[in-house]
């Protein structure tokens, strides 16, 4: 059964950057990209290669037109839509359903 949580408000987000939330004991990296559709993305905060909870502090951009975040530790890129690691398909991170509704950020676990 899926569970929807209100994480925070839109004003808590930082445009074109990431922030970390904790839902049900899990760390989640949230990215707010006002020019994209959709505008918010949520993936696991755990960097499986660097082995630390850091992805929310990575830099976002696109590589070959795939929207990605770069790990702040060793710079591998993770697809914000699929969670796949571009450099090494062995690795991937979980992706969560997230939406921005009436200034609220809603996450589905």
């Amino acid at each position: 059964m899926s569970q929807v949580t209100i994480i925070c408000e839109q004003k808590d987000l930082v445009a074109n950057s990431g922030i970390c939330a904790k839902v049900d004991g899990q760390q989640i990296a949230l990215f707010y990209l006002p020019k994209e559709t959709p505008q918010v993305y949520a993936i696991g905060n755990w960097d499986p290669i660097g082995k630390a909870h850091v992805l929310s502090r990575g830099m976002v951009g696109d590589i070959n037109e795939r929207l990605v975040v770069a790990s702040p530790l060793y710079k591998q890129h993770f697809d914000l839509h699929t969670g796949e690691c571009l450099e090494d398909s062995e690795y991937s991170v979980p992706v969560y359903r997230v939406e921005l509704t009436a200034d609220k950020v809603l996450l589905t676990l």
């Binding site: 994480i7 925070c8 808590d12 987000l13 930082v14 445009a15 074109n16 950057s17 922030i19 970390c20 939330a21 904790k22 839902v23 760390q27 949230l30 020019k35 660097g50 082995k51 630390a52 909870h53 850091v54 502090r57 990575g58 830099m59 976002v60 951009g61 696109d62 590589i63 070959n64 037109e65 929207l67 990605v68 770069a70 702040p72 530790l73 710079k75 890129h77």
Partner: protein, 841 residues
């Protein structure tokens, strides 16, 4: 193990040792050097008087020989070789057995047998100790005479002039540099050096040197033609003679006019004894240049291997700067070959002389003379060395009027065997090999092959070859920053500046495509900071910064951050030390002293950063920019304030420099250091820009770095006053910030500039691009708009909202686990972390 004894530790003897150590031969090496110091650079000896110290001239150290397992003895000479028992015996009575003996005893200056040549003011010019004598004699002297108008004599004249003496050159022959130059070239050289204030006396045979009684000068030289010259010092530099006494006494074959005879394998008449360098006689010749000596050393080492190389003689063509005058001589400069044709160009207004000697059929270049302009030297040398057919009108090679359409020697015309860099013996084939291995950037090729890293004379030719080969392969070096911008960092810098672009979105819209990435965003952020110097956490710049820049701290492997406050020049008060200790204790931080004389506090959680910095800022600390591609530290020694040897206040200068350039964003991190004397305790030569005190001011070095590929900086300018020093650093740094590639260190940047160090000196010192004022203004703007980013951040509540662990929960990240080690916390290993987390659950 093979016992090899090397007698003599000059440049060639040292090169032999280096080559032998680098080879696969297992040898027990003993070195015996007559001078008290290990090998040094004799070629640049006259720079001693321009401020270069013996330490800077050194090619090696006693410690280095110990490190590489060489048993070295200095200040002791070999007195005897017992060839029967294969033993050498030194003056001090030491005995060494050998399997192979290498004589690299070098040469000594020839002093003409003139009565009175043994008086105090008569000195020679050969060793560092000789330079000490010359300096001592120059003290209180007004006039200095150099006897000898050859290459070495003019080098000595340069030294005498550098000492501030009225300089005379006395030459026995009718012209200067008679070996290398024809009459016309010699005449032009004389004209040029006389214009520099050196008085030249040719066709002068000195008959006697008498003590002077006029009370004004020290000695009087009397010449065969009845003339005389009063002087305070006489430097004999009239050629060299091989040190062959030892070989002579041991019964080895020596030449009629001196020199130990050697064969193609550099073996003497005793096949277990080699002779190399200026003591050796090959084919009836002594080779008085360093490059042939090196080739001999390499050939001699190869005799101990299966891959034996022979020494085939060497080309004595040379290009040099004498008293600031460019002089070049190639092959048969005098046109001695029968039937040869000469082409001569002479312009007395600009004082340039050029001459070509061409074979009777007009096809091959036999020799050349260049005075006042050596720009054609490299091309002519290639024609000469490789026997390339000359163009139909060879004179076009030296005529200035056709400069535009002079037939350039295509790199493609050179055979693979052509030597491109004679300093490091790099052939065109070696460069092609480097390209084949995937090195396409000029800087990489220089690093791989060493080409053009000696005198740098072949830089233009090297670039031609690389360009030519790349074109032939249909390759183009893609210098695009990334997939979003088809520009180099330098081009992007220019575009941003010219168009006044202030935000990344604007830049992307006007010049790029896509959304940007972790390569172009920080690069753009750095350029914005260099140009406009905004607060880096402005809303519009936030997405451009790497996490380190964003959180103004360095992320460590477990996701925590390190905090490095600025400790300018490494100077810190006890009160501030206590604050650092208290903050570290309060937030459970690991502390370590950095290489840049600061204190690094590790293990700070992101949500604690503002509180930590609030305490630090209140205690008077500023950010150290350890997280940014920016000026890091300016290291210093205590200098003249405390040190018995210091000659300038290095701490005050380091503080000034660090405070001036702090916060300057650059393509790569920047480090600097200031040493208070030539003992160089601050290691300034390993920094991007380093300053070393002299008795007269400061010497500036640029392009050094530590790290994976350590490099010593190059001497950039000497004896600068404070103001000039800062002016040059301003220009150097801003020129680097403007033109370097992303993540390109100053050393690689400089190597990639066409013309390298010399070009950089022209831009910075001589202002050849007329941009010095603009560079200084831009630097003043950056300096004037400096702000401590941490101070600005903690004063702004809006900025503080980023510094939370969880946006939706006020709690700590319990996944970050530390363990104690040596009384401090450290990140738990993955294993420890999993185990400890299980225990908690």
């Amino acid at each position: 193990m093979l016992k090899v004894v090397v007698v003599g530790n000059g440049m060639v003897g040292h090169h032999y040792v280096e080559q032998l150590v680098a080879s696969a031969i297992e040898a027990q090496i003993t070195v015996i050097g007559g001078e008290t110091r290990p090998a040094y650079d004799r070629v640049h000896l006259s720079e001693y008087f321009a401020g270069r110290t013996p330490e800077e001239l050194a090619l090696t150290t006693r410690e280095h020989y110990v490190d590489i397992g060489v048993d070295a003895h200095f200040g002791d000479s070999v007195a005897q070789i017992d060839r029967d028992s294969k033993t050498v015996i030194t003056e001090n009575g030491l005995r060494f057995c050998y399997d192979k003996l290498v004589l690299a005893t070098g040469s000594y200056p020839f002093v003409p047998p003139v009565p009175g040549n043994d008086q105090d003011p008569c000195v020679v010019y050969r060793t560092i100790d000789d330079l000490g004598n010359i300096k001592a004699q120059a003290n209180g002297a007004k006039i200095g005479v150099v006897v000898g108008g050859g290459l070495l004599g003019l080098e000595a004249a340069n030294a005498v002039q550098n000492l501030g003496l009225e300089t005379h050159v006395v030459e026995f022959a009718p012209g200067l540099m008679g070996v290398q130059l024809d009459v016309g070239g010699s005449g032009m050289l004389r004209r040029k050096i006389e214009a520099l204030g050196v008085q030249v006396h040719t066709s002068k045979a000195t008959e006697v040197i008498e003590a002077s009684d006029d009370g004004d000068s020290r000695v009087l030289m009397k010449f065969a033609d009845g003339g005389s010259l009063a002087t305070d010092m006489i430097v004999f530099s009239a050629g060299i003679r091989p040190y062959d006494q030892l070989a002579r006494e041991s019964g080895l074959k020596v030449g009629e006019r001196g020199g130990i005879e050697i064969d193609y394998h550099c073996k003497t008449s005793d096949s277990d004894i080699f002779a190399i360098g200026e003591c050796a006689l090959f084919g009836g010749r002594i080779f008085g240049l360093v490059a042939p000596g090196y080739r001999m050393a390499e050939a001699a080492v190869s005799q101990l291997t299966d891959n034996k190389q022979s020494f085939q003689g060497a080309d004595m063509s040379t290009k040099l700067k004498l008293l600031g005058v460019d002089v070049g001589s190639i092959g048969d400069a005098h046109g001695r070959e029968e039937g040869s044709i000469a082409y001569t160009f002479s312009d007395e207004r600009i004082e340039v002389y050029k001459r070509l000697i061409v074979s009777a059929d007009g096809k091959k270049l036999l020799g050349a003379v260049l005075v006042g302009d050596c720009s054609d030297y490299d091309t002519l040398l290639q024609y000469f060395l490789n026997g390339i057919d000359l163009p139909a009108d060879p004179e076009t090679l030296i005529l200035p009027y056709n400069a535009g359409d002079a037939p350039a020697l295509g790199a493609a015309a050179l055979p693979a065997s052509a030597t491109i860099c004679s300093c490091h013996n790099v052939s065109k084939g070696d460069i092609i090999d480097a390209l084949d291995s995937g090195f396409y950037a000029l800087g990489d090729i220089k690093f791989e092959t060493k080409a053009s890293t000696g005198c740098g004379g072949c830089a233009a030719l090297l670039k031609n070859i690389v360009d030519d080969e790349m074109a032939a392969r249909g390759l183009e070096v893609d210098k695009s920053l990334c997939e979003h911008f088809a520009y180099t960092r330098q081009e992007l810098f220019h575009l941003i500046k010219v168009e006044g672009i202030k935000t990344f979105d604007e830049l992307l819209e006007k010049q790029g495509r896509g959304r940007g990435c972790d390569i172009c965003k920080p690069a753009a952020g750095s350029i914005f900071a260099s140009l406009w110097n905004d607060y880096v956490l402005e809303e519009k710049h936030v997405g451009l910064q790497d996490t380190n820049d964003n959180f103004l701290a360095n992320m460590q492997k477990n996701g925590t951050y390190s905090v490095v406050p600025r400790v300018a020049g490494g100077e810190i008060t006890p009160d501030k030390l206590i604050v650092l200790g208290e903050v570290a204790k309060k937030y459970n931080l690991y502390t370590k002293i950095t290489g840049g004389q600061r204190i690094d506090l590790f293990g700070a959680r992101v949500q604690h950063l503002p509180a930590i910095w609030k305490e630090l800022v209140e205690a008077g600390f500023e950010t150290g920019h350890a997280y940014g591609k920016a000026l890091r530290t300016v290291k210093s020694c205590v200098g003249s304030t405390w040190c018995r040897y210091g000659v300038q206040d290095s701490v005050a200068m380091a503080l000034y420099i660090e405070n001036r350039y702090k916060g300057l964003r650059s393509p790569h991190k920047l480090k600097s250091a200031v040493s208070g004397c030539t003992r160089e305790c601050a290691e300034a030569q390993s920094k991007d820009f380093g300053v070393i005190a002299t008795e007269n001011g400061w010497n500036l070095f640029v392009g050094g770095n530590g790290g994976m590929k350590p490099r010593h900086g190059d001497l950039f300018a000497t004896d600068l006053d404070d103001e000039t020093l800062i002016k040059y650093i301003d220009r150097f740094l801003m020129f680097y910030v403007r033109t370097a590639d992303r993540l390109q260190r100053t050393s690689v940047w400089m190597d990639n500039l066409e013309g390298g160090l010399e070009y950089l000196q022209q831009v910075v010192i001589e202002d050849s691009l007329s941009i010095a004022a603009e560079l200084e203004e831009q630097m003043n703007n950056v300096v004037g708009t400096y702000q401590c980013e941490w101070k600005t951040t903690i004063e702004n509540p809006e900025r503080m909202k980023r510094f939370v662990q969880f946006v939706n929960a006020d709690e700590e990240d319990d996944q970050i686990v530390f363990v104690q080690e040596r009384g401090q916390p450290r990140p738990a290993t993955e294993e420890e972390r999993i185990k400890l987390l299980e225990e908690i659950v």
